[in-house]
Amino acid sequence: MATTKPRLSSFSRNLSAVSSSQTPGVKCGPNGTMFVSSGIADLDKILGGGFPLGSLVMVMEDAEAPHHMLLLRNFMSQGLVHGQPLLYASPSKDPRGFLGTLPSPASLKHDKSRDRESEQEKGLRIAWQYKKYMGENQPNFDSHRDNKQDYCNEFDLRKPLERHYFTRQRVNCVGIQDSKNLAALQEHCASFLAQHQRNDGSCALAGRIAIQSLCAPQCEHSNMDWEMLSFIKSLKGMVRSSNAVVVITFPPSLLSLSSTKRWQHMADTLLSVAAIPDEDKELAKLLSGYQDMVGLLNVHKVARLNTQVPFILEATTFSIKLQKRRFLVLECLNQAPVDGSSGSSYGTSGSCSGSSKAGTLDF
């Protein structure tokens, strides 16, 4: 079987090499779907290619941390770099000001390989952290690096996006705080999506809609549960027949439980971000790489359009890290296994026999 050398086998499918050359930033996927990048390479990998065109992505915010903004920024920047029109709605007084915080693609001199070996000795490999080392044996992404560079850029969060990106294209910013209800936003979305109607096969230009904190408390519509639900429903219907992706973030703690469930059901792709406690010694023992982590990302649902086959994820919880405080990476959690009987963690010693409570396991 072609497990170690997929490229040489005649049975391998080079899906990622088939990209729509007319349309930058759009990749063909299985089952007739087309993907756009989320702006985060790791997230594209986790989701099986990116965000499918015509889908609704929802991100559940954590009231205690602004990590959803990181996801939004990368998403919006990626679209602007590819020249894809963008509609951005936010409850702040000056939505246009947010564009100034969008990250710029990193300069090519940056070393893209992740240096996982640097912190650890070559000889010692911790058994329960084996997943970290599996990534080294996969050469197939390197060969498509050129294509990958076009499809998904690595963004430097410390470098702001050049102004010409958002004055050249149509970037429409809408404030949702002051309007009485969602009718104005709905009109904006409808006219935006009408320009990206899906004709048979060909994809003119993909569009992106980013709505931040849809049920933010300072908006008057935030207590109109059914209005918000019907807005999302109509938006989902409109985006299905268009070449666009909609990303909506919302804080579920501000909605009733039944509303939250309904919103979650509406999503094609559902993600959530969570804050982690600071200077927590127990968590530092339990997780490796705790120092670099800023938060957690959970994948609850992955969009499957035109197919009934479910997408099975290996893991659903990922840590959000900022490499060199600039580059957003998502990593699988390397969690020390907890001894079922005594509840103590093996993370302190790093090896299976180092626990001081081994007395109960002596045979």
């Binding site: 008057e220 703690s253 982690i276 968590l283 919880t317 020390a336």
Partner: protein
């Protein structure tokens, strides 16, 4: 740790950032929220007077106490009131919030207080209140790049006269105003639905909650056994703070409070209960086969 809160309010916000906002919440079980509020107010006033803080003025929006109360409070804590015109202003939403009196017989308001305060006679119009606060604040700091702080007596009173979304609107607008350095408010959490408390926690960058010292003893009948525990609840409490830090992490801290006649005292907790946030992580366990 309460000092950490005061220092964060003192340092204010960076350029382009929202101002730090503190929610102090208490409940009937441990009603010391107002004492904590007064403590924070006094500390911030001391910092402003000493010139150590980012803000150069303080606007107190007084809903549940009259301005003369605050004047007396500051006097008791040794702050010089006579020269206070240029750094503190009290917006009086207590005396006549709905404009029922056309003129005011100010027997209750002393001479000193009336010079430091101005009336707000329609608390239902939060847009007007917003512009009043900003106007008073700018009046304190003058032209230039200086900033001022805001203290809101209680948002529980504020929401009696206005909707949740308009209260959320005014608070977030105040936080995002360029000249506001920091803002803090008091909330009595058991007066509201959970949604309102969640809204305020969402809007703030620090949440300080006052909880009863002996959780189990509250609500029980007074017996000889739990009498001493109940009595402890009358003077002591627990103070939990959740900080939202700039790096996206949450710092959780805990202290004990003791309320005395002279004020409130904060002491560090002797035994630390470490709670592992297991709910965040998927459970991984090993099974030993024998």
């Amino acid at each position: 740790m309460a000092d950490t809160i005061c220092r964060t309010l003192r340092d204010g916000g960076l350029e382009g950032e929202h101002a730090p906002a503190l929610t102090i919440k208490d409940s009937k079980a441990s009603p010391f929220g107002f004492d904590v509020f007064n403590y924070v107010l006094t500390q911030l006033s001391n910092y402003i007077l000493a010139g150590k803080s980012q803000s150069r003025g303080l606007v107190v929006v007084a809903y549940s106490r009259s301005p003369s109360f605050y004047v007396d409070l500051l006097k008791r804590r040794g702050i010089d009131i006579a020269s206070s015109h240029d750094w503190i202003h009290i917006l009086d939403c207590y005396t006549d919030p709905l404009g029922w009196k056309n003129w005011l017989i100010d027997k209750d308001i002393s001479q000193e207080a009336s010079s430091l305060s101005s009336f707000c006679q329609d608390v239902r119009n939060l847009d007007k209140l917003y512009s009043l606060i900003i106007e008073q604040g700018k009046g304190l700091i003058g032209q230039g790049k200086d900033r001022f702080s805001i203290a809101i007596d209680s948002v529980s009173e504020m929401v009696r006269h206005a909707s949740i979304s308009s209260v959320a609107g005014i608070l977030s607008n105040l936080r995002s105003h360029d000249q506001v350095s920091s803002i803090f408010w008091l909330l009595h959490s058991d007066l509201h639905e959970i949604k309102f408390t969640s809204v305020l926690e969402y809007l703030s960058s620090m949440v300080a909650s006052v909880e009863p010292f002996n959780q189990a003893a509250f609500g029980q009948r007074v017996d000889l056994e739990n009498l001493s525990m109940l009595e402890q609840n009358f003077r002591k409490g627990k103070f939990h703070v959740r900080f939202k830090r700039r790096n996206g992490r949450v710092r959780v801290m805990c202290e004990e409070i003791l309320v005395e006649l002279a004020g409130i005292k904060f002491t560090p907790v002797l035994s630390e209960d470490e709670i592992i946030n297991q709910r965040l992580l998927p459970k991984v366990s090993i099974i030993v086969l024998s």
